[in-house]
Each structure stands twice: as structure tokens, then as C-alpha cells.
């Protein structure tokens, strides 16, 4: 289930600026542990973001996205609308968090 995503959505002139910080190890599959064995890749694969029930972004991430993925985007929206950020990782783990546009 992981830790909650941290996010902030601020509207100005009809455009919402959203910043999201998801909590995930984003293991690259390139790293070796203390015994020299490759640590298997483990990363978020999909991110879906909605605002007021409308899709505003669909993302596909690979293991080259940094640990605790950060996304910043801008879309049409209004104060008071609900922003929902959902992710699914390559082990089927998933998390959904939301905020209200301020």
C-alpha cells in the first residue's frame, strides 16, 4: 500500500498547477545488494490523475524515474475540485490519494 502521496493543487486564472510526490522505492533492477546479488526491479508502472472526475494525465513510468517520483503538471480546473492520484506498481501494489484544488 505504501505511504501517502504528497500533493498540492493551486488554481490561478482557470489553470490548476499540481505537484505530486509519490512515495516509492523505484528500484532500478541494476543495483546489487551486499552479497552481490541483483536487487530485482520494483517500480511504479502507471499513474492516473483525475480532476473533478476528468482524466488530466495518464503516465507510464519505467525504473529510471527517481525514487519517490515527482510530477508537476498544469490543466484546466477550478478551486474546490477533487484531484485523485492513483498509481500501480509492477508487483500489483496500488495507492490512491486525493486533495482539493485551492
Amino acid at each position: 500500500m505504501g505511504q501517502p502521496s504528497r500533493m498540492r493543487a493551486v488554481e490561478s486564472g482557470g489553470v490548476v498547477e499540481l505537484r505530486v510526490l509519490m512515495s516509492h522505492v523505484m528500484e532500478s533492477g541494476q543495483r546489487r545488494d551486499a552479497s552481490g546479488a541483483l536487487v530485482p526491479a520494483h517500480h511504479i508502472e502507471r499513474v492516473d490523475i483525475e480532476c473533478g472526475g476528468r482524466s488530466v494525465l495518464q503516465a507510464r513510468l519505467g525504473p529510471a524515474v527517481s525514487r519517490d517520483p515527482f510530477l508537476q503538471l498544469r490543466f484546466r480546473g477550478a478551486k474546490g475540485e477533487r484531484v485523485v492520484v492513483r498509481w500501480v506498481d509492477d508487483q500489483g501494489d496500488t495507492r490512491s490519494d486525493e486533495t482539493i484544488v485551492g
Partner: protein
């Protein structure tokens, strides 16, 4: 779930996406075009070298004519966290991909932007070593590319 299963999922997506890609080219899926395009581009994560990844995205002939801006550092002390921002004034942007040429898997991320979302995305990537970073954009007028060389002091795939 084990690695092999996910590798086979990528392979399945890869072949499924090729078929979908043909439909998209034929204009057979107008209503679902954006979704099909995203799935087609998703398949390029399987490519292990930059040229084949770019080919899988259909971006070999993309215009690198300065209409897409890729902002980021010239030099990164720590390859584990390198910030990039893609922006463009091109109309009808539906997809943005970020590729790190010298990474073991060059395709880093793909973003599908529905109407109403601005052609702007900012994120942070890992870089294994110094490399050119590419932003590929699908807009109304076709495919466009921006490039940026980044010198990496300490590689970031160990994270």
C-alpha cells in the same frame, strides 16, 4: 509476482501494441486513439538501446527544430535525481516521452495528455552516466524532438 512474468507481460504488450499501432495508423480507432497510442508507446520500455526505443516510438524522423523545450541541468552531481521539464507551444499535444540515451533502458517515462492539460510536464530521472536526454512529443502536426546533453558526475542507477 516474479520477474519472468512481468517480462512476458512486456512482450505481450509489445506485440499487442504493434497491432494497435497499425490500427492507429489506419485511423481505425479514432475514439480510443490516445489510449492506443499510450499503450503503443508503453511497449518501448522493453527496448534496451536508444535507437530501437526511438524506432518503437515512431520517433526516428521527428523534427528537432526547436519547437519543444527540454529544460534540465548541464551537469548533475548525482545521477539518482536529475530534474527535467518539457514544454512546447505546439497545438494538440497528446503524448510526451522522456528518454535517457545511455541508460540500460532508455525510455524513462511516457505521459498522455488529454485535452485541457497543458503541454508541460516536470519530473526527475535517474541517469546511469553522462548522456543525451531526449523529449519526444506527439502533437497535431506530427512528432517533434528536443535534446539536451547532461554530464553526470556520479551515476544513479544504483538506486
Amino acid at each position: 509476482m516474479d520477474k519472468a512474468m512481468w517480462a512476458s507481460r512486456r512482450r505481450l504488450l509489445n506485440s499487442a501494441a504493434r497491432v494497435l499501432g497499425l490500427f492507429v495508423l489506419a485511423g481505425a480507432l479514432p475514439g480510443h486513439e490516445a489510449r492506443a497510442q499510450l499503450d503503443a508507446w508503453d511497449a518501448a520500455f522493453a527496448n534496451r538501446d536508444f535507437r530501437s526505443a526511438l524506432r518503437a516510438l515512431g520517433g526516428e524522423g521527428a523534427a528537432a527544430d526547436g519547437q519543444v523545450q527540454l529544460d534540465g541541468p548541464d551537469m548533475a552531481e548525482n545521477g539518482a535525481v536529475v530534474p527535467f521539464t518539457v514544454t512546447t507551444a505546439l497545438p494538440g499535444v497528446s503524448l510526451i516521452a522522456l528518454l535517457v540515451e545511455h541508460n540500460p533502458g532508455p525510455l524513462a517515462a511516457v505521459f498522455a495528455l488529454p485535452p485541457g492539460t497543458e503541454a508541460f510536464i516536470s519530473t526527475r530521472l535517474k541517469m546511469a552516466e553522462s548522456s543525451t536526454v531526449h523529449a519526444l512529443v506527439r502533437a497535431e502536426g506530427g512528432l517533434f524532438l528536443a535534446r539536451r546533453p547532461v554530464r553526470v558526475i556520479q551515476g544513479g542507477c544504483a538506486g
